[in-house]
């Protein structure tokens, strides 16, 4: 049962293990730099929406890092697919596409979880008090699932490695900076405000920040995140069906 799901995870986790140290060290650096520069740099006096800036920043770093890690599987899938043709081994096996998508998505979630734990660790080190509303768990699950499945979709529809980098430059990076991770979106000019409200990160950051800082949980936003997750799961399935080796 679930042999496709188990197989994909087996492969990804074993490959991950071989370079885990390097990867974890590399991905732990950028949130740390953000914390030092903006958290310490601004000091305790700067507050945003009534929170010390560093408390505002930590949830943003959690969504940013976990997005980077879960969406980041697209890069790995690309290499797997175009350079090493390992992906063919999944396609040739008697497994359904759903299992391949779920296996890859859970690998993305697994990697995101490591980055989230790391930031929780940072927040302890920096003495930042976080609350933990139970909604955090479904919210972070949906958030990482939706970006992992978006990553799978991208990896399946791009023609080569280069187009993947273009998508990152023009979509992912701007999204990470504008969707309320580092500052509240209501500070944005109207046009940008309109743009960020079609992007899922805006909603997941809001819900996740509220769940960690004692804010009011917006369940409508939570359901929007769930909607995005379902849509991207669908596009990932659609994309993998039309993949030809």
């Amino acid at each position: 049962m679930f042999n496709g799901f188990r197989g994909v995870l087996y492969r990804e986790i074993h490959v991950f293990q071989k370079k885990a140290k390097k990867q974890i060290v590399a991905s732990s650096l950028s949130p740390l730099l953000f914390l030092i520069a903006f958290g310490w740099g601004f000091g305790k006096e700067v507050t945003v929406n009534g929170l010390p800036y560093i408390s505002f920043l930590i949830p943003g770093l959690i969504t940013m890092s976990s997005l980077n890690q879960s969406y980041g599987i697209s890069q790995e899938l690309n290499i797997t697919r175009f350079y090493f043709h390992v992906f063919d081994e999944f396609l040739i096996a008697p497994v359904s596409h759903i299992e391949i998508v779920l296996g890859e998505a859970f690998y993305g979630i697994f990697k995101a979880t490591i980055s989230i734990l790391l930031i929780f660790l940072y927040s302890l080190l920096f003495g930042v008090d976080l609350m933990l509303h139970p909604v955090f768990f479904p919210a972070i699950f949906l958030h990482t699932f939706l970006f992992a499945t978006l990553g799978i979709t991208m990896a399946m529809i791009v023609r080569d490695h280069g187009s993947q980098a273009t998508v990152n430059t023009f979509v992912i990076t701007p999204m990470i900076f504008l969707c309320g991770t580092f500052f509240p979106v209501d500070k944005l000019p109207a046009v940008f405000k309109w743009i960020v409200h079609i992007l899922p990160l805006t909603y997941s950051t809001k819900v996740i920040r509220a769940s960690l800082t004692g804010g009011e949980i917006d369940y409508y936003y939570l359901s929007l995140i769930a909607g995005f997750a379902i849509v991207f799961f669908g596009t990932a399935l659609w994309a993998i069906k039309r993949v030809e080796a």
Binding site: N3, G4, R6, G7, Y10, R11, H14, V15, K18, K19, F84, H85, V86, D88, E89, F90, L91, I92, A93, P94, V95, S96, E244, A245
Partner: protein, 286 residues
């Protein structure tokens, strides 16, 4: 029980890339235990054919049946029966040989209890028993090829697709691999569809050879019969600096003809290359 059931029936397969057909109107059948060769030059459509038969690409027309059932409506059932050795190695370089085999075993639902034994047996069959825990990126070309072959057999497929399995290997290692492939067919009774552009490979290994050119099958028989049809013996001679051939049914006739030719000339046995030249006017390997 009926012996030699048909495993695979392919009819009128078509695949176009743009306006250009890579495979056109290709039909073939493979029975249990059979060793069939698909011989043709580069770009003839061999890899495309294998990709179509294993579901890696979709046809523009035609039908593929495994044990009488449509591949397209029962892909999972069919995929349990097939093993694939692609032209380009798709091993995981970062994983060990054992991990590569274990991954395949999981994907093919081989029960956990049987896996260890089957993997050891496979490593042994490939002569790689001591290399199980070595990363594949440390392997030579021949070792990788042997590993892919035994990996493709781990789930005991009824039919094995080998796409140019010896391309890029030294002659010595190529022979070594022929022996492995031959044993697979003889010992495990696995039916094999092997593609190649090496004449010798097709002649040595295959019971039946289909010659493919520009996406179409242009001849289909045993190697001996194919050669017999063009003439089993060849007189090769130079005619105004140009190499020419004449074909004869027997050695005696060929030797008689040899005597009549002035200048440099010799008698040799026909090869499948001669068959190809006779059919297309071109050589397979240019």
């Amino acid at each position: 029980m009926q012996l030699n059931n048909t495993i695979l029936t392919v009819s009128n397969l078509v695949k176009n890339y743009g306006a250009k057909p890579a495979v056109s109107d290709l039909s073939l059948g493979i029975r249990e235990g059979e060793f069939l060769g698909l011989l043709g030059p580069n770009g003839a459509g061999k890899t495309t054919t294998i990709k179509l038969l294993t579901g890696l690409t979709k046809p523009d027309g035609g039908d593929i049946l495994y044990f009488g059932k449509s591949f397209f409506s029962h892909p999972k059932q069919a995929k349990e029966l097939i093993g694939v050795v692609p032209q380009q190695s798709n091993l995981d370089r970062d994983l060990t040989a054992f991990e590569n085999l274990n991954l395949h075993a999981i994907l093919h639902n081989i029960p956990g209890k049987l896996r260890r034994g089957k993997i050891d047996e496979a490593l042994d069959f490939a002569g790689l028993l001591e290399y199980g825990n070595k990363q594949v990126k440390t392997f030579s070309g021949g070792m990788k090829r042997r590993l892919v072959i035994v990996r493709s057999l781990l789930h005991d497929p009824k039919i094995l697709f080998l796409d140019e399995p010896t391309v890029g290997l030294d002659p010595q290692i190529r022979r070594n691999l022929w022996d492995l492939v031959y044993r697979v067919n003889q010992v495990k009774k696995t039916a094999i569809l092997l593609t190649t552009h090496y004449i010798e490979e097709a002649e040595k290994l295959c019971q039946r050879v289909k010659i493919i050119n520009s996406g179409s099958i242009i001849a289909d028989d045993t190697p001996a019969q194919l050669k017999k049809e063009v003439g089993s013996f060849v007189v090769e001679y130079l005619d105004q600096e140009e190499r020419k051939e004449r074909f004869f049914a027997s050695k005696e006739e060929a030797l008689a003809a040899l005597k009549e030719i002035d200048g440099e000339a010799k008698v040799r046995e026909a090869t499948l290359e001669d068959v190809f030249i006779k059919l297309t006017g071109r050589r397979i390997n240019v």
